[in-house]
Amino acid sequence: MPLIKDGRPAEDPWVTLDDEAPLPLDADPIISLERWQAERETLLARNGRLGLALRPDQPAALVAGDAARFSVITLTFPKFSDGRAFSAARLLRERYGFAGELRAVGNVLRDQLAFMVRCGFDAFEVAGDDAPAAWSEAQSEIGVWYQPTADGRPTAAQLRGREGVAASRTY
């Protein structure tokens, strides 16, 4: 599946590993939570980057203390209507200090892009040649937001406050 990162098509250096597969020496692996929990010490002793795949039924709290150890975390949207990954994304970004690549996989639709970005996703596995253009367009459709979330964009209330400051200075 093609990858879009920070709005542009990107090479994907990551390979998703089966739990039984040996760790590759020449590629960056994405492993399951189960494997992380079972082989934590071995994995920590290994040199190189590590990625984690979380399923929707695996709350982000399960990696609360370890999030920063991963370079990429993938969160799955099993279908359009399953929004659990939005909460997981915000928790990883806002509470568990995850600063790496947060990737949306599964049924990822352009009409949800703006929400995903606001929740802290910065990479997306999406189909289609026109995906980058459609996706960058989808991101600019809405420019006003009321909620303070992971992407740090100022909210309407914060902008109102700043306007108030600016206005009072002119008098």
């Binding site: 209507s81 399953d82 939005f86 459709e141 937001w145 303070p148 309407a156």
Partner: protein, 551 residues
């Protein structure tokens, strides 16, 4: 009233353009109906039995005269000349063309209205006490907090794909007119021991096929923490709510399966992480929004208006209407005037373009240009001088809008039923019309007194039958419409679910059954006793005996 600033205006305008693009992609065939469905549902556009239906949000049921005129214009230009006010204080247009919907939304945006989140598995239009800001029994105006919730919930990045739809209701008064115990979250304003205003937080109420009275998970929440607490509830629900079964996906099921106490613990734990974060309400923003809901410029008046009192003595029709349709206003010399959308034999909640325009005019002349929509599908002119009430009544009468039946038997809630809805098993509107016609003599209704009849055309309970004193549920029996009757429900501060009285009645027999129930009530009631009080005292048996005697 709240007025959009540039941020609110920009967001709604952008949303209209976004939807215009989505409709164009649908009309060109780029999107299939299956792909388009979740997108249109995020903008209040349903596909019903015969046509698209557009549900327009009326946040917390507050409308200006200018907005009501726009609804009339839309009814006339894009629909069949009428609109339907709903139990969620919204308005529905039943016959728009898909290609017209972006234009309708663009016209709505010019009067600061939209259809955002009137459908879909997101936080729906927040509802509130229709007497907000006018009620004599109010602690604070619930619209201030409803507006804050409206903004916070609009296009919420995290909570737009919840397990199921999510409804929040707010009341500032002890007498609950917003049915807060029957919502996913109900907020009941309270004072703590220090006299500060805050909220009792009620979670997991709802109707549908599994009716549940909500449970209090926090007895007092300081106002500044409102949004962080709501966010904590929603976050727990978004992560743990069931997604395996559509009928078990509402938060009421999660609360029941988890246990209210454990659910409260999860919410409190989540809240502890975020309560001091960016969602704490800044004083300036609270003050900014509060200012929009400042009381109108009332005149200093005597509490008693002689010409109003004289008219009541002289004209029994007027006196009857005053008795049912007026409510106490907090400001001396003013009244809250209810306008019934339930004329004898009419469709509950429907209003024609002409009626909307007439009411917009009355609101401008008599009520500071303000109108409210009630969850019982009526309209309200919230701030009318008592001395103006006789003239307003005459004007309403001339417009066919002076039915004196608020709270009476014919003030029926009914869902659209099989006349419009593809989920329905049976018709609801014609049953309401037949009951209303059977009891068409208003004097008889006044003798019967307050009585709430609520009718749903299917188990999804959009007609609130579970909480009707007489609840009527349409069911399908081998292709025929039958109606199951429940007695003893209530949606107010004494919230209760009705009990099934016995086997269902056919379409032809259901009106007789209602009449038998009413006659039985009149037989057993003691002086001043309401329907549910009599029922609590005598039980279901006398009603059953009368209803099923012949069988």
């Amino acid at each position: 009233m709240y007025r959009y600033d540039e941020f609110d205006r920009t967001l709604v305008a952008e949303r209209v353009q976004q939807f215009r693009g989505q409709v164009a992609r649908r009309l060109s065939g780029e999107l299939s109906e299956v792909e388009f469905k979740p997108l249109r549902l995020m903008n209040g556009l349903y596909l019903q039995l015969h046509a698209y239906m557009l549900r327009v949000a009326i946040p917390y049921g507050t409308l200006s005269a200018v907005q009501l005129r726009m609804l009339a214009h839309i009814a006339r230009r894009y629909d069949k000349g009428y609109g339907h006010f709903t139990t969620r204080q919204n308005v529905q247009f039943n016959w728009p063309k898909l290609a017209d919907v972006p234009d309708i939304l663009e016209e709505l945006a010019t009067v600061e209205m939209h259809a955002i989140q009137t459908s879909g598995n997101c936080i729906r239009n927040v509802t509130a006490d229709q007497y907000a800001g006018a009620a004599a029994d109010e602690i604070e105006d619930p619209r201030i907090y409803s507006e804050i919730i409206r903004q916070w919930s609009t296009l919420h990045p995290e909570f737009s794909f919840l397990p199921r739809k999510f409804k929040i209701a707010v009341t500032g008064a002890a007498n609950d007119r917003a049915a807060v115990r029957l919502h996913d979250i109900g907020l009941q304003m309270r004072r703590n021991l220090k006299g500060e205003a805050g909220f009792e937080v009620i979670v997991g109420g709802g109707q549908g096929r599994t009716p549940v009275i909500g449970k209090t998970i926090r007895s007092f929440l300081p106002k500044r923490h409102l949004l962080s607490y709501l966010e904590a509830i929603l976050r727990v629900y978004n992560q743990l709510g069931r997604r395996d079964n559509l009928y078990k996906a509402r938060i009421k099921i999660l609360v029941n399966e988890t246990g209210a106490q454990e659910f409260a613990r999860l919410v409190e734990a989540e809240w502890a992480e975020i309560k001091h974060g960016a969602l704490a309400l800044p004083g300036e923003e609270l003050a900014r929004i509060e200012a929009y809901f400042a009381p109108p410029l009332y005149e200093p008046l005597d509490a008693v208006a002689p010409q109003f009192e004289a008219r009541k003595r002289e004209d029994p029709d007027f006196a009857r209407w005053v008795q049912t349709n007026l409510a106490a206003h907090r400001q001396p010399g003013y009244a809250i005037v209810n306008v019934s959308l339930k004329p004898v034999g009419g469709v509950p909640g429907d209003a024609s373009a002409e009626e909307m325009e007439a009411l917009a005019g009355f609101a401008e002349r008599y009520s500071f240009g303000e109108i409210r929509v009630t969850h019982e599908q009526n309209l309200v002119l919230p701030h009318v001088r008592l001395s103006d009430v006789p003239a307003l009544w005459a004007a309403l009468k001339a417009a066919g809008l002076a039915t004196a039946n608020i709270g009476l038997l014919s003030d029926i809630i009914a869902c659209p039923g099989l006349d419009y809805c593809n989920l329905a098993n049976a018709r609801a509107i014609p049953v309401a019309q037949r009951i209303s016609t059977r009891f068409g003599d208003l004097k008889r209704q006044h003798d019967i007194g307050g009585l709430k009849i609520k009718i749903s055309g299917c188990i999804n309970a959009c007609g609130h039958h579970h909480v009707g004193e007489i609840g009527i549920l349409g069911v399908d029996k081998k292709g025929e419409e039958f109606y199951q009757i429940t007695l003893g429900g209530s949606a107010d501060e004494n919230a209760a679910l009705g009990k099934i009285i016995g086997p269902a009645f056919s379409y032809d027999a259901v009106v007789d059954a209602v009449e038998t129930i009413v006659e039985t009530y009149l037989d057993v009631r003691q002086t001043g006793e309401g329907f549910n009080d009599s029922l609590a005292r005598v039980g279901l048996t006398p009603f059953k005996e009368k209803l099923y005697a012949a069988h």
